[in-house]
């Protein structure tokens, strides 16, 4: 046998130690099992990670399930080994690596495309996270009152986000995820990112509870699929003060009663930023129901490139801001709304901004007492508009189209002006000023399908343009976090990477774009943006307009 030189051996050992921590591989189908038996259970692994169970207490077979040297930072559940873990009792809450020196990853490893399942019966939760230095990935969570119950009462590390990814939630009797800031002390924080999760037929998909005064809840969801939930994201703002946010990207909420609801206790003045960029929000009742504060905290609602449907009843809405007098900063562009809208924007509201939005098949009621709204490049189809008597701010609809959408101003003196707009079968009340009506429609529409084409496949880029307009396509990398505050144009693609397809389209036309069958394209997201121009020298439309395009992610 040859021996390694001492220096080389020590160097390799040091490298191994620094490069590796301990990974625990669960091989017990029971959640807790028996300490000292032949298999390592999930709860034993969690206790090891929390530092509440010593390695020395394990049997040799259990210890054999640990690999690596150092701190336990990873727990793996392989579906090929244990397809289902049935909870015998509640799992030990995850408090994370002692001292918060590292993230703990609890990872399910799929077998033949199926994640391991945690069958949580009727227990309070499947996983309880008490730190933000934790990642839970790759599980099917079935049952329990709550799938994952998360707070940071045991351990908070600033700047770190807990991560929940690739988890399917089903069968929970209260909520899939409950994310909370308890009121046991002030200024609690919760930071979490949720990725590629499905939440199906739950009373509440994600239950956000802000109870801590002056706290901070910072949540970001992306690639989430909610289907059939009563409420997809339910936010209860109880603790006073503080700034909080829910940001949702590339997520769909369909088949639900409510998509996003923000409730407040009486007098609650927390500031909330809500964001929805890319996705379908189809509600059977109200898609966005936002309760604002009448005192100090704004509700900032950024929503862009989304399709929204409200319910069919007279009390169902696409967007409902309440109560009268509350503060809202509404910022909406490149959306399609189908259903009723009730906007009540109080005296201290900083912004009511709708640009490039298609409103259809609903009644719109609006009262703005804050900063003068900006309403431009919108289309209204069978969407009658009523300016409520309580509205005090001047409303100026600019460069918009009204089709079978009468405008009624109920204010005493009339606050509504329609400037440079197209009106068809749309009457206006006598106190509405119509300035410089334009003779024809010009706002174009576009579609990009499918949004998940295969390599070697294609994507269809369609335009539906008004006469005397033409469009060319502009394609670039999709911007993961587009700057949606840009005015007048917002770019959902990376402009530096964009190329123009050198063909001009008019009327209804479809361009089938072939996607090369190249491995490097897998997972690359592009955005196709039509650029519309007037072709007959008409000056009543913008020289350049950007109808909503679409993103597509190559599979």
């Amino acid at each position: 046998m040859r021996t390694l030189p001492f220096l080389l051996a020590t160097t390799l050992a040091a490298g191994a130690v620094s490069a590796q921590n301990i990974t625990a591989s669960v091989n017990d189908a029971r959640s807790h099992g028996t300490l000292g038996d032949a298999s390592l259970s999930l709860d034993e692994a969690i206790q090891l990670a929390n530092g509440t169970l010593q390695v020395g207490a394990l049997s040799s077979q259990e210890r054999a399930q640990l690999a690596g040297i150092g701190t336990l930072t990873r727990i793996e559940v392989r579906a090929a080994t244990v397809a289902t873990i049935t909870l015998e009792r509640e799992l030990t809450p995850i408090t994370g690596v002692p001292g918060g020196g590292a993230d703990l990853v609890v990872a399910g490893i799929a077998n033949a495309g199926s994640w391991p399942m945690l069958q949580a019966g009727s227990f309070n939760y499947a996983f309880a996270l008490r730190t933000n230095r934790v990642e839970v990935r790759g599980f099917v969570l079935q049952g329990a009152r709550v799938g994952i119950d998360a707070d940071t009462t045991s351990n908070l590390t600033l700047g770190i986000y807990a991560i929940v990814a690739d988890v399917s939630f089903a069968g929970q009797t209260e909520a899939g995820l409950r994310l909370r800031n308890p009121n046991d002390q002030a200024a609690r924080r919760l930071l979490a990112k949720i990725r590629r999760c499905t939440l199906t037929s739950l009373p509440i998909g994600i239950d956000v509870r802000s109870d801590s005064d002056f706290g901070n809840i910072d949540l970001e969801g992306e690639w989430l699929e909610f289907n059939g939930c009563t409420t997809c994201v339910d936010i209860q703002s109880v603790g006073q003060g503080g700034r909080h946010q829910w940001q949702g990207f590339r997520s769909d909420m369909t088949g639900c009663d409510y998509c996003i609801r923000l409730h407040r206790t009486f007098g609650n003045d927390s500031e909330w930023l809500l964001r929805a960029v890319y996705g379908d929000y189809f509600a059977r009742r109200t898609a966005f129901e936002l309760e604002g504060s009448t005192t100090t905290g704004d509700v900032v609602f950024h929503h862009h490139q989304i399709n929204v449907r409200g319910g069919l009843g007279s009390g169902d809405y696409v967007l409902w801001t309440k109560p009268a007098g509350a503060r809202f900063d509404l910022h909406s562009s490149e959306n399609v709304y189908e259903g009723n809208i009730l906007i009540q924007s109080g005296r201290l509201s900083p912004r009511t901004w709708f640009n490039g939005v298609h409103f259809k098949n609903g009644n719109i009621a609006i009262s703005v007492e804050g900063v003068r709204p900006e309403l431009q490049w919108n289309t209204f189809t069978s969407a009658p508009i009523t300016v409520l008597a309580s509205s005090t701010q001047a409303l100026n609809f600019v460069d918009s189209e009204f089709v079978r959408s009468p405008v009624t101003d109920l204010t005493r003196s009339g606050t509504t002006t329609i400037s440079n707009c197209f009106l068809a079968s749309s009457s206006t009340s006598a106190n509405v000023i119509v300035q410089n009506p334009i003779p024809a429609q010009w706002v174009g529409h576009a579609s990009v399908t499918p949004d998940d084409p295969a390599r070697g496949g294609y994507v269809d880029l369609g335009v539906d343009l008004q006469p005397n307009t033409a469009a060319l396509w502009w394609i670039g990398y999709s911007d993961p976090r587009p700057t949606t505050t840009n005015y007048p144009f917002r770019y959902y693609l990376n402009v530096a990477s964009a190329v123009a397809v050198p063909t001009l389209f008019s009327g209804q036309a479809t361009l089938r774009l072939q996607i090369p069958n190249q491995p490097y394209l897998k997972g690359v997201e592009f955005h196709a943006q039509p650029v519309v121009l007037p072709t007959a020298g008409q000056t009543y439309m913008p020289l350049v307009s950007l109808p909503r395009g679409g993103r597509f992610l190559v599979q």
Partner: protein, 560 residues
């Protein structure tokens, strides 16, 4: 390309006829001038037509002209225009009428052969007619007719052959100053005008297809499949001034868009008692003004059958998706599996008038029903932002207008008659009924699902996405079958647009808003195949108020 049954029949019978007769003569046109000079070195189109008519003797041709004829014996059956030889034939004056020969029993066939720039072009300039067909024993294939006041004018005044159809196949009519295709049935007793079209494209003219029926006890029988009409003032215009007779206009798988009005039917004479049947199956009809504008008369039945259409009217007051009927008129309207975007107005007034609207979707408009006699029933329709008015004259309607299993969303129902409307098992969402509307067994939740299929032209080796958008308490499975050329659209309550005997059910039951991606094998034999994807919706919670099976509108997709 999938040929319709009618064309297959025609082709087969033509082949059988050819086999029974000695070979006919083909005249290959090689003169870029329409008429040229008889006896010169090239055969002109007009010379060929005259030969086919028998009005020009073979002996009158020069040897070079005669060399352009091929075949053993008989009459000139085929006039071949090869775009590689004569890419464009410019009309010097009106072409001779195409008549054929009464005793010959063969079609006069114009056969265009593609050249480097595509099909041969007949440029009619400012002449009144590009190609005058005066017989139904004619066949035009693969030609572009450009300009002229009228592209093709057709009647059978000079040669009518029983049970034959004039045929236009793969014909482009463009830039006519007045009409792309004009079909005439002059005022002669028993005059017939049978014509079939397949893959006919008409664009940039005032009227795409004009049918003028002045006949006495005659018959117009015009059918089209895969006809596209764009950029016209009027897509199809039918002027009825006839007495007696049964007439048909049938358009399948056709599209009209970028037009002022899509289909206009006018009864020139209010006393016209001819019976007209207007059938439209599969297709889209988008108009800047009114999509379907159909007048009726009291003595003559106007039967309108609309199935599986996407209909859009304009946005101005006075624009309609569908306006059918004249006060006191005899209207039999059946519309199923259609989407109407823009107002609809239906008027009828004879005892045998009928309005049947089943499984339609009315959106972003308004509906007005004014029926003084006859009957009306509406089943499983959705009204979204489409208020409904039962007009005052409906007071005299014998039985109330029945809305059964319909959904009214932000669509108030105002009955201005004496309460001649009844709702049975309907869902009301944000909709108010006037006090005199009976609302029996209201449905508390919506249930009518929707289904979409994209794309409609997937290449072999790719996929098609089948998506359902369902309400809770319902589920759907997908069925796939070959498209039926002639579905039984009169079936109630379910109509199948695909061949059930060859259909397959795809595994999987789908809920709410869900998509299934169906891979299409990369098999060459699949190219050109048209399939129909049909979602089959069922209640899942034992709701007895819902139909046990419901078929949301499906979609045809053709594999490229």
């Amino acid at each position: 390309m999938r040929l319709p049954h009618q064309f297959l029949h025609a082709a087969l019978s033509g082949a059988a006829l050819s086999a029974g007769l000695s070979a006919q003569i083909t005249a290959a046109v090689n003169d870029a001038r329409s008429h040229g000079t008889l006896g010169d070195t090239v055969l002109s189109l007009d010379e060929a037509i005259q030969l086919a008519n028998g009005s020009l003797a073979f002996a009158a041709l020069s040897s070079q002209e005669a060399a352009q004829l091929s075949g053993v014996s008989g009459v000139v059956e085929t006039i071949r225009i090869d775009a590689a030889v004569t890419p464009t034939i410019t009309l010097e004056r009106l072409l001779s009428n195409v008549i054929g020969q009464h005793h010959a029993h063969v079609h006069v066939a114009f056969d265009g052969i593609d050249g480097p720039t595509g099909a041969p072009v007949i440029d009619a300039g400012m002449l009144p007619i590009g190609l005058p067909l005066r017989t139904n024993h004619a066949h035009v294939d693969n030609l572009v007719i450009r300009g002229g006041m009228v592209g093709i004018e057709f009647d059978s005044t000079l040669h009518y052959h029983p049970s034959e159809f004039a045929e236009l196949h793969h014909v482009h009519l463009e830039h006519q100053h007045m009409v792309g295709l004009r079909v005439l049935n002059p005022q002669t007793s028993g005059m017939q005008a049978p014509m079939m079209m397949h893959e006919v494209h008409i664009h940039e003219t005032q009227i795409g297809i004009e049918v003028v029926d002045d006949s006495q006890f005659g018959n117009v029988d015009v059918s089209g499949e895969h006809v596209e009409i764009e950029e016209c003032d009027v897509g199809i215009k039918v002027s009825i001034n006839s007495a007696g007779g049964d007439h048909l206009l049938a358009m399948h798988h056709s599209h009209i868009g970028s037009v002022g009005n899509a289909v206009v039917v006018e009864r020139v004479t209010p006393t016209s008692d001819s019976r007209w049947r207007l059938n439209f199956l599969h297709g889209s009809y988008h108009a800047d003004g009114t999509a379907f504008d159909i007048a009726t008369s009291t003595p003559g039945l106007t039967a309108v059958n609309l199935h599986h259409l996407d209909v859009r009217g304009g946005v101005a007051a006075g624009d309609f998706a569908l306006r059918a009927g004249t006060a006191g008129g005899h209207l039999a309207l059946t519309a199923t599996e259609c989407t109407f975007w823009a107002p609809a107005s239906l008027v009828a007034g004879t005892s045998s008038s009928l309005v049947r609207l089943h499984n339609d979707r009315f959106e972003a408009g308004a509906m007005s029903l004014s029926l003084t006699d006859g009957s009306a029933d509406l089943l499983w329709d959705t009204f979204q932002s489409c208020p409904i008015t039962i007009e005052a004259p409906t007071t005299s309607l014998p039985a109330p207008i029945a809305f059964t299993g319909c959904e009214l969303v932000r669509s108030d129902l105002t009955d201005s008659s004496t309460g001649r409307s009844v709702l049975n098992g309907c869902f009301l969402g944000g909709s108010v009924l006037s006090n005199n509307v009976q609302n029996l067994r209201p449905e508390l939740a919506p249930w009518i699902g929707r289904a979409t299929v994209t794309p409609t032209n997937p290449p072999a080796g790719t996929y098609v996405d089948l998506q359902v958008d369902l309400y809770p308490g319902t589920a759907a499975a997908w069925m796939l079958g070959s498209v039926l050329a002639d579905p039984i659209t009169t079936a109630i309550p379910l109509r199948f647009y695909f061949d059930l005997s060859s259909a397959i059910a795809l595994p999987g039951l789908h809920l709410l808003y869900s998509r299934v991606r169906l891979p299409i094998p990369a098999v060459n034999s699949l190219r050109g195949v048209s399939l129909y994807a049909q979602a089959v919706q069922v209640p899942t919670q034992g709701q007895t108020s819902l139909p046990p099976v419901f078929l949301p509108m499906g979609t045809i997709f053709q594999i490229d």
